[in-house]
């Protein structure tokens, strides 16, 4: 079966009134400003049907999903094998008692150990990326008995306590300070800065192999190896956050494989849940597990690695492996980057740079405002893509790994059309105001 043979075209009946009611209710009971901003940006999409790399808005419009919840839908949305596994699990399982040992947790942990780089053979489960990072940092501090965590400026690791303390974006941290002590940020890709910051007080260096939220920043080829050496020199641990970059996204199972570097701790989440189950995993070495032998209940999570989610995640790994999605992502990535490079040549006033690996692409525009504006224009061309939160001049393109060349062509064509719209100053139609507050000036009053 090719990656998308299972797809069926399905057009839900448009329900504009239902969509408006959903937006109204969301505004009333969740956040009105979010609705206002999304509406203005052309992203007021109420998802209905989701299938493979596609999603439908309640008003009937169909979008190629290139945001994929920041890379959470690597196997596509509602893959039939994943849905079948979830249904089967629901027939017999539930979350499970988190304090008990479980068949499903054991199976998934075993499988992850066979796929992980190096000798990362042990797993702690969680419900999301932030929780996985929190545990990674706790383990690093606990195992090394050192306080300092070094992360990178513009890095993104989630919004929970330890993870937020490591966030490389001041605006995420500032309202909640004081956060955890002994967190230091250094520029990503700058080994001199890291060498100056690292010491025998350093428990771990935490970074993404390729910064995602930071604007799809690919480090110099030698950087990760140099970071590994710096950690080894002072006895610090290397934590790689593969939450966006892992599970085939960059054309390898793990992005660290591009650099031939093995971390001491690695996190994975998002796509591990196959678009239907929240789950994350922190993988680490047996040596680090020693810390947990006398402390087997030191980190607990009621729903982390629930039996249901583990059953789904196991099938996700099967699908990625058996449909050769990793190689497929590499192949589709080459087609995507070839087209993006051509667009960069065609529109040098708009595209400054194209970068990334596999199906993790970043388009660096020449101006900050172009990220939000291109999100709008792409939505008008049937593509859901959202600019990078830490770098609004960068458009993230992270479609499901099941995309095929025809869809890559569609994306490139949409980008071309969106750039033309941008250059011609098109945009959302302006709401007509019934009454204006601004006084009308007469010639006499203005003289």
């Amino acid at each position: 079966m090719t990656p998308k043979e299972w797809l069926t075209e399905f057009l839900p009946a448009p329900d504009v009134a239902g969509k408006e009611q959903a937006l109204k209710d969301f505004a009333n009971y969740v956040n009105p400003q979010k609705v206002r901003v999304m509406r203005a940006a052309g992203l007021d999409i109420i998802e209905t049907q989701r299938s493979g790399p596609w999603v439908w808005d309640a008003d009937g419009r169909k979008f190629l999903d290139c945001f994929t919840s920041a890379g959470s839908f690597n196997v596509g949305r509602r893959h039939p094998r994943i849905i079948a596994a979830a249904k089967q699990a629901l027939d017999t399982l539930d979350h499970g008692n988190f304090l008990l040992c479980s068949r499903q947790k054991a199976d998934l942990a075993h499988r992850l150990a066979t796929l992980a780089p190096g000798d990362l053979s042990c797993t702690m489960f969680g419900t999301g990326g932030g929780e996985a990072i929190d545990f990674a940092i706790k383990l690093a501090r606990g195992a090394t008995q050192r306080p300092t965590i070094i992360s990178t400026i513009n890095g993104y690791h989630g919004h929970t306590g330890f993870a937020l303390s490591a966030a490389g974006r001041t605006s995420f941290r500032a309202p909640f300070e004081p956060l955890m002590p002994e967190f230091v940020q250094v520029p990503f890709g700058d080994i001199e800065a890291l060498n100056a910051a690292i010491s025998e007080n350093t428990a771990a260096v935490l970074l993404e192999p390729i910064q995602g939220e930071g604007g799809i920043i690919v480090p110099p080829p030698e950087y990760l190896g140099q970071v590994r050496s710096a950690c080894d020199r002072v006895g610090a641990l290397l934590i790689l956050d593969e939450i966006q970059t892992g599970l085939g996204r960059t054309g390898k199972w793990w992005a660290s494989e591009h650099y031939d570097v093995t971390p001491d701790i690695m996190t994975t989440a998002k796509s591990l849940g196959g678009s239907v189950a929240p789950i994350s995993a922190t993988l680490f070495t047996e040596e680090l597990r020693e810390f947990l032998i006398p402390n087997p209940f030191i980190h607990l999570s009621t729903f982390g690695g629930s039996d249901l989610a583990c059953a789904v995640a196991l099938e996700v790994l099967n699908v990625i492996e058996e449909t050769d999605l990793v190689s497929h992502a590499a192949h589709m990535g080459r087609a995507l980057f070839s087209g993006l490079d051509e667009l960069a040549v065609k529109y040098p006033d708009v595209i400054q740079e194209v970068r990334g690996k596999g199906l993790m692409a970043g388009v660096q525009y020449t101006d900050d405002s172009m990220g939000p504006r291109m999100s709008y224009h792409l939505s008008q061309h049937g593509v859901l893509a959202i600019y990078s939160g830490n770098q609004p001049s960068v458009m993230r393109l992270m479609p499901s790994l099941v995309v095929e060349e025809s869809e890559i062509d569609l994306l490139l064509s949409a980008l071309d059309g969106a750039i033309v719209d941008l250059q011609e100053g098109r945009g959302p139609s302006e709401d007509a105001k019934a009454t204006r507050r601004r006084p009308v000036r007469t010639a006499a009053s203005s003289s």
Binding site: P32, Q33, R36, V37, A40, A41, G42, S171, A174, P175, D367, D368, S369, P372, R373, Y376, G389, P392, L422, G425, R426, G427, P428, S429, E430, D431, K433, R436, R437, R438, P439, R441, S446
Partner: protein, 119 residues
Amino acid sequence: MADWDEIAEALVDYTKNCNTNERLRKMQRDWSRVLHFACSDSDVTFTMNVDHGEIISTAMGHAGAPDIVVTTTSETFCDMFWGDLNPVQKYLRGEIKVKGSQEDVMRLDAISFVIWPDA
């Protein structure tokens, strides 16, 4: 094209609306910024100082190091400060240019939303 007097009149109204809105003041109490504005259709520039959510001064010309620089036509500035347009729509049309962090852009829009929810 609006002249400085017209923009200043709009700013007076905007400042009054912001500073007398208790909900907005509470919401923006952690926001202190220097904003520079530049008219793209004239030489008029002006500066707004916000201190813990309160607009403490608006004056012609640029003063201080800006956190945010907003550029658009004098007419759009007037309409924006009178609450007669949705600044996000203008921003997405490329008619308002903002240099600064995305958080600050969101803050600016949130001010409009709180004062004029229907704008």
